[in-house]
Symmetry: C2
Subunit: 365 residues, 2 copies
Amino acid sequence: MAEKVTIATVARRARVSRQTVSNVLNAPHMVREETRERVREAISALGYRANQAARQMRTGRSRLIAVRIEPTRDGVNGSVLDRFLHGLTEAAEAAGYRVMLYTASDSRGEIDAYDSLLGAYDLDAFVLTGTEHDDARTAWLTERDVPFVTFGRPWDDPARARSGARTAVPSPHPWVDVDGADGVAQATRRLLDTGHRRIGFVGWPHGSEVGDDRRSGWFDTLRSVGLDPTGLDRAAPDGFAQGEAAARDLLAAAEPPTAIVCASDSLALGVLQAVRGPGDWAAGSDQRPRVAVTGFDDTPVAQAIGLTSVSQPLAQAAACCVDLLADVLDGGLRGGAAGTRRSDPAGGGHAQVLLRPSLVVRQSG
Amino acid sequence: MAEKVTIATVARRARVSRQTVSNVLNAPHMVREETRERVREAISALGYRANQAARQMRTGRSRLIAVRIEPTRDGVNGSVLDRFLHGLTEAAEAAGYRVMLYTASDSRGEIDAYDSLLGAYDLDAFVLTGTEHDDARTAWLTERDVPFVTFGRPWDDPARARSGARTAVPSPHPWVDVDGADGVAQATRRLLDTGHRRIGFVGWPHGSEVGDDRRSGWFDTLRSVGLDPTGLDRAAPDGFAQGEAAARDLLAAAEPPTAIVCASDSLALGVLQAVRGPGDWAAGSDQRPRVAVTGFDDTPVAQAIGLTSVSQPLAQAAACCVDLLADVLDGGLRGGAAGTRRSDPAGGGHAQVLLRPSLVVRQSG
DNA sequence: TACTTCTTTTGGATCGTTCAAGAGGGGCGA
DNA sequence: TCGCCCCTCTTGAACGATCCAAAAGAAGTA
């Protein structure tokens, strides 16, 4: 077992003091070029790595970011969080941070978890996935000046949230989100472009912010080209069977739609079932279905089944979360990720990023 | 902002010394009942929480466990790791540990990650998911006496691995796994019980340990009742289209199988496609398919589509991983999880746990 | 009373790092 | 020449916990 390498070991070898080594690491400009080089050489020769615990004790910063891991959701959308987590971990590593997990069964439990994590591990920041109306968690964190970013808009004021970053309204906290309305609009527009005129929508029951936002993308797009969406949408809880039932209902109308846009892949899978013949299922089939179907989230199932779906840039969203946090934590030293639509804080508001999803076109539509 | 609560704050309030407070926390038996109570009262009144960084600096233990988060796999099986992670985090919290994530693109990168994590954060242990033949990572960790558990058997010697814990062969390191062969055997046996005699198998190409293990469950079960499995299995890389192709090939045989067991839900989904009529897809349908199909992993897709599938007890597996680590780290203070088949170390080997999966029967078979 | 033994408490040292303050040397203007 | 500043580097102290050695107190024994 090799001797433990500390800053003192490095200092001895480079024939300087501990503080100089520390300066090379944290404030290189204060050290003369020649000395800096000598210290760097010693560091890599000895394989020195700064001990985070000791650093944390002095600075109060742990370089740790916490994110909640939720129990797998019902339905097909299980792997979304998974992909986000992976992106988050990767981006955090690049920025010199690590990701720590915690669980909680509800908002109250999540706040307890914050308390415990902050007390024991001095966490630097939190990433919240999914935001609620009038969120108790964001209030708690804000009150205590704990840095955090949400993946999901603060939906407190629907009218404001709807417009999102497009008008750069001051935000109560930094957030990153994917523009669901835009994704659904892309899907709808493409169907219009390929000649469809009666385009239906199967989404979640009214009242869910994310669901209403996605529906608005379909609604507004139809209206913008002078088509009447009335009677062409159905609301159903997320799920295969619910999607199928909604689609059957929609198709039983006097003038059934020739295409259906869905708020999730789970619903879309059910809709496809209601709509398609057996031969169409094959991934390799180039046979067009009778009714075009579009999903949302581009889950592995959509990929397997050949379902056209709206794909969220999860890795990019995760990278943005880390960027925003790094801005707060490191004092704006890092630039934003490339290609993001970023609204910088204005009038006391916080940074907000709204990403555009992309449409992955497959055989289903 | 409240004053920071340290062990000294608690000591002052309870009118004892710091050491006495520390003893109450780490060696309560050394402190007189009355004093102990007074200190406990002060701790909860002040909301004191031990600072892990300071504790770690003195003791060298961080109470942190690391696990790799992999990029989402191809195919339907995305949420398996997700569920395992959730269970791991929950079990770790209960045992007083936290879970930290890291990424790596290959074995070499993973070893670099170990090095970095150990150097910077003094990690207590690692959980490896998925094991390879002749794994470089386990060798590295063993060499440096870093505690770890693998979720997945060490497959170094196929003959030995096949028998698993059933014979309690000394293991090179602690591991937890799910008995895939047993899961497939359960599925096969159930098909036999419901009258099937020609039962096929669609699995991965030979050479993958997990795949061969699952195939053996089907093979051995047929043989045990005097049936000949010859010609009734097909090998295909994981995926929907591959499963469909394999099934078509199988069904084109002179005496096609009346039921097909699959090594994954992805394959099963493709097999179902090759096998079923359109009406059978509905989750609510009670129409029996022409050919019974069984998957593996009980993914959300299987749940949505009504596919009979073998379900891995992932939460339990995660809890076992934590138990085994706690045994090593805390010196065997904790008992094993209830209801596990546990082989305790014998003759210098390490603890190993082989869990039984369960069959979730749905409409598909 | 003095000595021993056992329990409980105390003060000081320590882990590895960064902060605050200061020392030493050279350049520059008065 | 002196004083001042700047640049570079060094020294001592601190963060908050635990470990260690030893003191204080209680109780038993000669």
